[in-house]
Amino acid sequence: MDGAASPFRAPVIALDGPDKVTGAARYTFDVSLPGMLHAKVLRSPHPHARIRSIDTGRAEGLPGVAAVVTGIDAVGLPDPYYGVAIRDQPVVAIDKVRYVGDMVAAVAAVDEEIAYRALALIEVHYDPLPAVTAIDQALAEGAPLLFDTPAAGEPIKLGDGLVSLKEPRPNVLCEFGYTHGDADAVLAASDHVFEDRFHFSRINHFHLEPHVNIARVTGELIELWSCNQDPFVLRSDIARIFGRHANSIRIHASHVGGGFGGKSFCKMEPLVVLLAMKAGRPVRLCLSLDESLLTLTKHAGILILKTGVTRDGRLTARKSEIQLDGGAYSDASALTVVKTGYRITGPYRWYAVATRACAVRTNTVPAGSFRGFGGTQASFASESQIDMIARRLGIDPYDFRCKNLLALGEPFRPGDSGIDSDLAKGLDEVIERLGYRQRVRSSAQGHKARGMGLSIGIKDGGGTGNHAQALVKVLPSGRVIVSAAAVEIGQGATTTLSRIAAETLNLPLDWVRYGAIDTDSTPLDNGTHASCGTVVTGIAVMRAAADARDQVLEFAAERLGCTAAELALDNWTVRRGNYAHPLEPMIAEHFGGAGFEFIGRGMVKVPNDPKAPLTAAALFWMPCWVGAEVEVDRETGKVQVVHLVVGADSGRSVNTIACRGQVEGAALQALGQSLFEELRYEDGKPVNATPLDYRVPLARDLPDQYESFVLEHGGPGPFGAKGIGEAGMLGVASAIANAIEDAVGVRVTQIPFTPERVLAAIEAAP
């Protein structure tokens, strides 16, 4: 699609921008309620232990302490466990602790200082148990078990012929299987078969606003002011855990200070509710960033790919074995495993595919949603191996990719939707910007060598069979309130959704306000996930705005004695032929009093499709085209990214500044993970789980040249938009690995590509 005629071409100032640059923006972090107490959490120092006893007597006796909560309180709840599909995580540890940082007890006191002092007075007696903090340890014969009994819940529902199992083997949370054709037979008939193994690292979201929740219980009503990305998902969980109907739970959302998946799904929120119930007062729990580091991570994993190819460079079949480290509890592992396994084939054509993927339980921080959601792991392994195969066959990696890429409209897998981006065009844009054609091979200057690498990461976007609802209220003055529950987390939902409403109503953007989110009055949304806001919530908002517009035109037609078809809406006047009729006086005259609000309703449900492998065809595809030029120091192993080009496809940008920001922000997160960022474990314990030791990218880590681009190939969302938020995360690590091999001829298959790892690979090379 040619974006030149787009009404959205002109960049806009973000509607929440003035508040954000003046300090006026309010986050859940800033919420304070009268009589509010402050909570702190006691965490396990052991990776794995049975809790023999907990004595809270001294803590409860400390002046200023209002409530102490332990597993005894959790056991009394109607359903004390949570997790996506498989529910194994207790509100607070009940009988065992399963990782260093597991929540053992919590205190609510008049201030944080007293709460901290009370924690020190709680006496916990543990019987330490042997622990497993890596996948191979957890799967070893006779390994200690994290769980003695099966967890509640069900495996993820998938289409016919796919495998989805809950707890199939000891320490395995879930398993996914996908086959198409006879991969063994096709591999046996292939000219070459290559098997390679990749290791993916564990990283933390490091959102700057820590997890923060305030709970208030008044009579039958449970209220939460929460930084959670998914207010309605949280409402369901709180209702189930406390045995209430959802209409007695009320969730308030504010600006969220970064999430990237770290604030999705239920976590410590029920513990805060439990404290508020026991204390009889509102309770605020604001974790420290140290604690957020112990709350959720991206999945580490081992991916083994066996790929067949013909002599002339045509891909034939791929068999994959994927083990993700799910950590101690389920969280969103069951879904992540499905998505990783499904995406492992990348944007290529295959005769046959066989994939098995599982999540392994270990005594580490639970893993769950993180920007890319399995797509990052799959893209790293797949795009690394594609490049390795090209080089082994002596084919240029660019040509090898082009030869095997799925064409526009070709289904990702049989039964799924067609690829909706021109993948070759994006790659061409990358090599043009990178100067790939002009590169000088092995341009070694002393001990430093330069190389270039390419990659095409891909994932489905928008969720699977997703849905959303929205309201658009138009006031007598033509001012608008958009009411939807896509949470403003920095992605620009406020501006994008407002712009969709403004465009539909033909009103100025600054007449629109994105309303406060309150589950009592805001229409339901399935969560701020999977780059779905612009498309899924966006369609609901567009339909709500169109409904409101139609109501306005019907009203005006009645007043003017004509049909709505004769009228057009333009800047809060109705035009009929050459005459313009201002609406505000028309509404005042008819309704009097406080006037009237036109309330438009909109919804969307992405259709379920029993023939689609994941039970619904992908709503859109999110490619990530990357080119990296690196300089590798042969003597130290240090890798410097000198030029990074990252591109994505917005379908059609509704908010150009936000699209660029999403791509560049995601890509720099991926750059950090590629080069140095990792939550490391030694002897069963995390060794760098503090903000100082856990290093995230700073401005000085920017590549010398850092470029992004956004293509517009159309999509299913409003005005041809599609989601873009996760894209930049997908292809960066593999592009850098590919560039390292281009520079120094060695392959690093484990991220991060630290100097130690790169040097070891150089020294091991023949």
């Binding site: 100032i13 300090g23 923006a25 972090f29 700057l208 960033l289 992605q491 920001g661 995230v696 401005a699």
Partner: protein
């Protein structure tokens, strides 16, 4: 409990006399006593820079500065930057260049940039990157912030 200390401090151009307990940090006094909630606390240990404020024009992390340390000093928070209702040139540059996403790091980042431009009105790329490395932004990838700093430098002191 040790007795509170009385301090005299000018905050955003206004003289205050405050009684502060010796263990209280500036960030808490700003947020709790004065409702200057633009001062955000991220890491609470002087790593992320979200709580950066200017004390006698020096950027400091308010989360690790004792309140009594600002006695007889001048403090500028993000709320004090816009004079006479108009935005400061740095704020305007951030706004126009989309140099923020979630916005949690933005007040501290803007005050750091303010201090940079006060010392180096025409910073080069390397200096901008080095200076911005005192503040973590997990959302933007920094490039659009760098562009905003260049634009603010071009626009002069405003």
């Amino acid at each position: 409990m040790t007795e509170a200390i009385e301090i005299a401090v000018t905050i955003n151009g206004r003289a205050h006399r405050l009684n502060v307990a010796p263990r209280r940090v500036l960030a808490d006094v700003l947020r709790e006593d004065l409702q200057l909630l633009g001062c955000k606390i991220g890491c609470d240990q002087a790593v992320c820079g979200a709580c950066t404020v200017l004390v006698d024009e020096m950027p400091v992390t308010a989360c690790t500065t004792f309140a009594f340390e600002v006695d007889r000093k001048t403090v500028i928070t993000i709320e004090g930057l816009a004079e006479g209702g108009g935005l400061d040139p740095v704020q305007r540059a951030f706004l126009e260049h989309g140099a923020f996403q979630c916005g949690f790091c933005t007040p501290g980042m803007i005050l750091s940039v303010k201090a940079l431009l006060a010392r180096h009105p025409e910073p080069d790329e390397a200096l901008i990157r080095q200076w911005l490395s005192a503040n973590i932004c997990r959302c933007t990838g920094y490039q659009m912030i760098v562009e905003a700093v260049r634009a603010a430098a071009r626009s002069g002191p405003g």
